[in-house]
Amino acid sequence: MSHHIVEAIGLHYTYPDGTKGLNGVSFRISHGESVALVGENGAGKSTLLLHLNGYLAATQGQVRIGDFALNPGNLNAVRRTVGMVFQNPDDQLFMATVFDDVAFGPLNLGLGKDEVERKVAQSLETVGAGHLSQRPPYKLSQGEKRSVAIATVLAMSPDILVMDEPSSSLDPVSRSRLIALLKTFKHTKIIATHDLDMAMDICERTIVLHQGQITADGATTGIFGDQNILSRSRLEKPLRMQGCPKCGNTFSHPTFKRESK
């Protein structure tokens, strides 16, 4: 079995205060797929992501990462395979300099100094942040922080990238850059987001969560084109599918055609 596969089988999770986080979630994400996880606030997106890396243990059900059924014994191996980018980069960048932050993971993997330096340089180059290496994280812009946060994960050479709201609080240019960057990654990607336009750009498949359950799972364009699914899950069509306010045209409108090329 490929180590890029993520599978959830009947996942249930209840928070200590009794709130149901997940209520029988099952899916299988194959090698190289890019999947958007959408749903209203409190639908269970972040809870689900935290299960994929073993931060939360399901009350019932199972998570499989490639050949591993996730359990306390293989957490380290799973965390090496599944790289997680958190919603707020300030949570992810905790070291004194960008270099130290990106080197944190590879050093914990037991790599040698030269190998760590090579990985750090390579990861920062990939996200276009090579020049930030010696800067303290608190002096970076939000977009730079996001790029470096991704580099910290890339430096661990994960097979699967899990991202929680990667485009939140980014300005339009930083957002576009992020989308372009994510498109270049060949990893299996699972992206929890409210940014449905970004989901359309990156993910060919979308899973819709509502009250801890999957209400739809299929091709992104199909799901975002289905008003019933969107309304039920308290979502709105992506901007580009909402059509021109004057003529009502969507993809057929010349502007949208031009953009979609």
Partner: protein, 270 residues
């Protein structure tokens, strides 16, 4: 609260100063740290009535400022900012110790006033040198030097995290304060109940953030140990810097230079 925020941003400015380039900046942090430590120990080791013996020690901060190009006015203001704490510590000395120990003309100076000024002088010396150390080295490099010198890792990591998240915490506090002032309709002081609520929320947010940071660390293989790549090298420059200054400090501690000079000038040196 915004003033507090500005002051914390000032810490960022100190970090910027540490990024400048001078031979003092380039010295190994350990050499600067040890020399500063010896300076502080020497200064505080004088008895409580010493005043003149402390004056020659100003040569160290003055020399560091002159050689590094750090802004003296900025550092002086920082020292003044914290000086009230020293005044608070020393203010009771003149009341407790009223015995006159010398006279200027007909004016009797009590031991309490001498010890008061001695504490202020020591405070100015030690705080200014500690600030110069941070401005020359950077807080993070000081922490790493502490680690290399054998300070327990958990302590160093706490210091590093404290410095890293000071800015984030201040931002959050400033945002909360702004939200309060927008609805306070011109009220200048936060009432006690609101203050307690603000601090409580800040604490809860801090705990939440700490949990998220811990998760981020776990996701990158954290096993309780912080590993960093740091190449530090003690060379001849560091050796000369450390030994040279330390010898001068011991000399200044052993001989009261102003008294000797005074005796020489007035012909009482025998």
């Amino acid at each position: 609260m915004n003033k507090i925020s500005d002051n914390f941003l000032d810490i960022g400015y100190m970090d910027d100063l540490a990024g400048k380039d001078s031979w003092l900046h380039r010295l190994d942090p350990r050499a600067k740290l040890i020399t500063t430590f010896i300076f502080i120990v020497t200064v505080v080791s004088f008895d409580k009535y010493t005043l003149s013996g402390l004056i020659p020690f100003f040569i160290f901060p003055i020399a560091l400022l002159a050689l590094s190009g750090l802004p003296a006015g900025y550092l002086f203001k920082k020292v003044l900012l914290v000086l009230p704490f020293a005044v608070l510590v020393a203010i009771f000395n003149p009341l407790m110790d009223r015995e006159v120990i010398f006279r200027i003309g007909s004016l009797g100076i009590s031991g309490g006033w001498v010890s008061f000024f001695s504490i202020i002088l020591r405070f100015i010396l030690t705080v200014s040198v500690a600030l110069i150390l941070i401005c020359l080295t950077g807080f993070n490099a000081v922490c790493l030097a502490l680690s290399k010198l054998g300070l327990p890792k958990p302590f160093v990591v706490q210091l590093l995290f404290f410095f890293r998240y000071l800015f984030v915490l201040t931002d959050e506090a400033a945002r909360m304060s702004r939200a309060w002032s927008l609805r306070a309709l011109g009220s200048k002081a936060i009432d006690f109940k609101t203050f307690v609520s603000l601090v409580g929320h800040l604490l809860l947010r801090t705990i939440d953030r700490a949990e998220r940071i811990y998760l981020a660390m776990l996701s990158r293989g954290f096993d309780g140990r912080i590993r960093m790549i740091r190449v530090m090298r003690i060379g001849s420059r560091e050796f000369i810097f450390g030994i040279g200054w330390s010898m001068l400090f011991v000399l200044l501690r052993s001989f009261n230079i102003p008294v000797k000079l005074g005796a020489l000038v007035t012909g009482r040196f025998s």
